[in-house]
């Protein structure tokens, strides 16, 4: 096992390379998820605001 | 001819003309030597820059030519293309792949018939195989007297 991790003395080159590969791709995978969450949150806020505005408008109209 | 067709025709002709001229110029350029890597034969024939201008010398490290000067980082070896030999001296740490029979590119200047390298780079070739296979091939070559070809030296 130790031999496997030693990579024939090239561990300090091989493992960082694999780390770069997985870290960069993990960033690529998760950054749109974060963006997506931001977008949906903003949209939900917008919809909620519109809804309250509409109800307020109907309430204001109701007495007349 | 309607103006749209006419304009398209003009544009197409212009592009074709430009491509034709560019191709002609490229063919002309390709016929000129544009390499900035010189082989020992070219150096011997005086084609390489002289007068202290640095250039790149490429070739194979000749067998039995590598001598480490004791107590220093200086190494002397000979770069060959199997026709001409150029002695090279280099001070510094050599890359892992540097070994006899290896394609090597050195950068430096010619000083009194000797190439003083400021940089040595081992060119690694495109062959990957397990050590056992490599040994088997080497053994087969030795037994059958297959002439040992320069490995990877021909890659552009």
């Amino acid at each position: 096992m130790m031999q496997f991790f030693a990579m024939g003395g090239f561990a300090m080159y091989v493992w960082p390379a694999y780390a770069v590969f997985f870290i960069v791709l993990a960033w690529d995978w998760f950054s749109p998820a974060l963006r997506r969450r931001r977008i949906t949150r903003a949209l939900r806020g917008r919809i909620a605001r519109e809804r309250t505005r509409n109800t307020r408008a109907t309430r204001a109209e109701a007495p007349t | 001819m309607n103006p749209v067709r006419k304009r398209r025709l003009i544009v197409t002709l212009l592009i074709l003309g430009a491509v034709a001229i560019a191709t002609g110029l490229s063919v002309f350029a390709l016929q000129r030597n544009m390499t900035y890597l010189y082989s020992p034969t070219e150096v011997d024939a005086g084609k390489a820059p002289t007068g202290g201008h640095p250039f790149r010398l490429g070739g194979i490290v000749k067998e039995g030519s590598v001598h480490h000067v004791p107590g220093t980082l200086t190494t002397d070896f000979v770069i060959t293309d199997r026709f001409q030999n150029i002695p090279v001296t280099y001070t510094g740490i050599l890359p892992d792949l540097f070994r006899v029979g290896q394609s090597t590119i050195t950068t430096g200047t010619m000083v009194d018939g000797k190439f003083v390298a400021t940089k040595v780079l081992a060119k690694h070739d495109a062959t990957y195989m397990p050590p056992q296979v490599a040994q088997a091939i080497a053994k087969a070559k030795e037994e059958n007297r297959i002439p040992k070809t320069a490995q990877g030296g021909g890659a552009p």
């Binding site: - | 592009i15 430009a18 350029a29 000129r32 030597n33 544009m34 250039f55």
Partner: protein, 247 residues
């Protein structure tokens, strides 16, 4: 003030005839050249800025690297090439910006002339007014940096081929960036990858000339690229200008 309905000029019909529309493509290019030259003359003070920049940067090199004439002479060719490219950059960025802002590009778009041809004319005017002076002062800059005399003609020739190529590429990028809200370093960022081959071949020719080697091949490559770019870049530039105007 005249309020009555009166005919404009003669009462000839205004529907354009074919000769009115197809004639004068050359006249249009000449008009654009004249306009750009007039404008450059009005702002002639600005034209000196790239020259001043080039001289200042060239003068800084001996201070940074030491006044060793041999060292300076060896690197002068490449240094001058880079200085020219850098000095060209600011003007490239604003090649179409003012025309977009004051609506002139809208008039270009509606004119009965091929937009690509107008773009090419603009490239020529730009090169003549902002880049040619840089090439003209090369002997002076070469003297500052101890450029070997035999390399100077090759350097000038290289620049005569390489700079129009860079202006053509820069025109496409400038047109692309013109419609953007902020361009900043954008044109430089986009130009870098496109300029790599130009710089490589130009530097190759200069280096070859410097070490007494034949330099025709890299120059021929530059010429080939220039011929292609003269036809293709204006087409791409026209497409980019259409996107820029579409605001």
């Amino acid at each position: 003030m005249v309020t009555a309905v009166q005919p404009i000029a003669n009462s000839t019909p205004v529907a354009p005839t074919t000769d009115q529309r197809s004639s004068g493509t050359l006249r249009a290019c000449a008009a654009l050249l004249r306009r750009d030259f007039t404008l450059a003359w009005r702002r002639r003070g600005e034209l000196f800025l790239p020259l001043l920049y080039a001289v200042i940067v060239a003068a800084l090199f001996p201070f940074a690297l030491g006044p060793d004439p041999e060292l300076l002479g060896r690197i002068a060719g490449g240094v001058l090439l880079v200085i020219v490219v850098l000095a060209m950059l600011p003007a490239l960025e604003s090649m179409f910006r003012s025309d977009l802002e004051d609506g002139t590009l809208e008039q270009w778009l509606l004119a009965p002339q091929p937009l690509a041809l107008l773009a090419l004319t603009r490239v020529i005017a730009h090169w003549l007014t902002t880049v040619l002076p840089l090439i003209i002062v090369m002997p002076l800059l070469g003297a500052l940096l101890n450029l070997p005399v035999k390399v100077l003609p090759v350097l000038m020739l290289t620049l005569l081929l390489a700079t129009p190529l860079l202006v053509l590429l820069g025109a496409v990028l400038s047109a692309l960036a013109a419609g953007a809200r902020r361009s900043g370093i954008l044109v430089a960022l986009m130009l870098l990858p496109l300029a790599v081959p130009v710089v490589i071949f130009a530097a190759g020719a200069i280096a070859a000339a410097q070490s007494g080697m034949p330099y025709v091949a890299p120059l021929t490559w530059l010429a080939a690229a220039l011929v292609l770019a003269i036809v293709l870049a204006p087409l791409a530039c026209a497409a980019a200008l259409r996107i820029a105007v579409e605001a």
